[in-house]
């Protein structure tokens, strides 16, 4: 009987320690989601080439092949990789708030389409009248890997990717992006 008690107590101790480790691990995975997304978005070996990522993106073209008005210098840029046909993009209720919070901080916002045929109706765009980029150069594409819509990418004034979020934004995404922007400005 005494042996059984010792065994159960021992197993209980192991379970408590194990669960503690797993909880820390899970917390780390969740709290580092933007960093993990940023690492996954950056294509290995693709950092070369001329020009900053913001200026390369700003040279992208609209659905009709004309230039889009994306400010290419002096302001950070938030890109939303999304499409009209993506259900998750439509259901992402955090995006309008993130875009507005970024706009108030002087961040330019643009939408990047997976395909030109999946462009948004300008009236349905959030924020309204935000530029839609349908065609980008390989120089820009060589730097990033876009796997899911929606994906949000935040570039600083120097054109460096400082924050990203794969999939639908989470309630803490706004605070996380603002914090990164603030830290980067220091």
């Amino acid at each position: 009987m005494k042996q059984l008690r010792w065994m159960v107590s021992g197993l209980l101790a192991v379970a408590v320690i194990g669960d503690g480790v797993l909880t820390c691990w899970d917390w780390r995975v969740r709290s580092h989601a933007p960093e993990r997304s940023r690492e996954a978005v950056v294509r290995a070996g693709g950092s070369g080439g001329r020009g900053s990522s913001v200026s390369l993106f700003a040279s992208g073209l609209a659905v009709d092949g004309t230039r889009v008005a994306v400010p290419d210098r002096g302001a950070p840029l938030l890109i939303r990789y999304a499409s009209r046909t993506c259900g998750y993009c439509a259901r992402d209720t955090v995006w309008p708030r993130l875009a507005e919070a970024m706009r108030l901080k002087g961040v330019s916002v643009a939408v990047l389409l997976p395909r030109a045929a999946e462009g948004f109706d300008p009236a349905a765009l959030v924020p309204a009248q935000v530029p839609q980029v349908a065609f980008v150069s390989m120089e820009w594409m060589k730097r990033y890997r876009l796997t899911v819509t929606p994906t949000a990418m935040l570039f600083n004034r120097a054109g460096k990717l400082v924050w990203a979020q794969h999939g639908m934004l989470r309630p803490d995404s706004i605070a996380s992006a603002l914090r990164v922007l603030q830290e980067d400005a220091r």
Partner: protein
């Protein structure tokens, strides 16, 4: 009393075990999700290859009537002379076969400027700007030294075109197989 204590401890053990199992599964699932995203990017399908060519025209070359096979590849600015020579020859060899459309994607603006200024016809279209999905598929194939071949109504497949001893004749043959 001792019995009760053991029962409580066993119940606690089961609860903690269940919690740990759930957490562990969630962590593994998240890791797999990240890996699957990168994996799925390597298998991206190809669309209609709409893009803007080196002269600034918006084109969908693969949508022309009669096109049943589209070949796409990356033109590398640092080896532009070699790449153009190979693909000129490949284009010439497959030109007898109607319905094959070859599309190169310049990997930077220098390549686009150079190709845009080439007076001689190349025998294939060269894009300066592409759609994200197509561009990623071309880049992923290039990382494996491949071009992508898409036959009408089927999934694209890669054909190695950069390799020791590979001739334009062999590349053309593989494209047409």
């Amino acid at each position: 009393m001792a019995h009760h204590q053991i029962i409580v401890e066993i119940v606690l053990l089961l609860l903690l075990g269940g919690y740990g199992w759930t957490l562990g599964r969630e962590i593994v699932r998240e890791e797999r999700r990240v890996a699957a995203r990168i994996e799925s990017n390597m298998l991206l399908g190809i669309g209609r290859y709409t893009g803007v060519d080196v002269t600034g025209r918006l084109l969908t070359p693969a949508a022309s009537p009669g096109v049943d096979r589209v070949v796409t590849f990356l033109l590398r600015a640092d080896r532009l002379g070699d790449d153009l020579a190979i693909w000129r020859e490949v284009a010439h060899r497959v030109s007898d076969r109607r319905g094959v459309r070859i599309i190169g994607f310049c990997d930077d603006s220098q390549c686009a400027r150079y190709v845009g200024a080439v007076a001689q016809p190349l025998g294939f279209t060269v894009m300066m700007y592409g759609e994200v999905v197509d561009s990623q598929a071309v880049l992923n194939a290039d990382a494996l030294a491949q071009c992508l071949v898409q036959k009408a109504g089927s999934e694209p497949f890669g054909v190695v075109w950069r390799g020791a001893g590979l001739t334009p004749g062999q590349i053309s043959q593989r494209i047409l197989d």
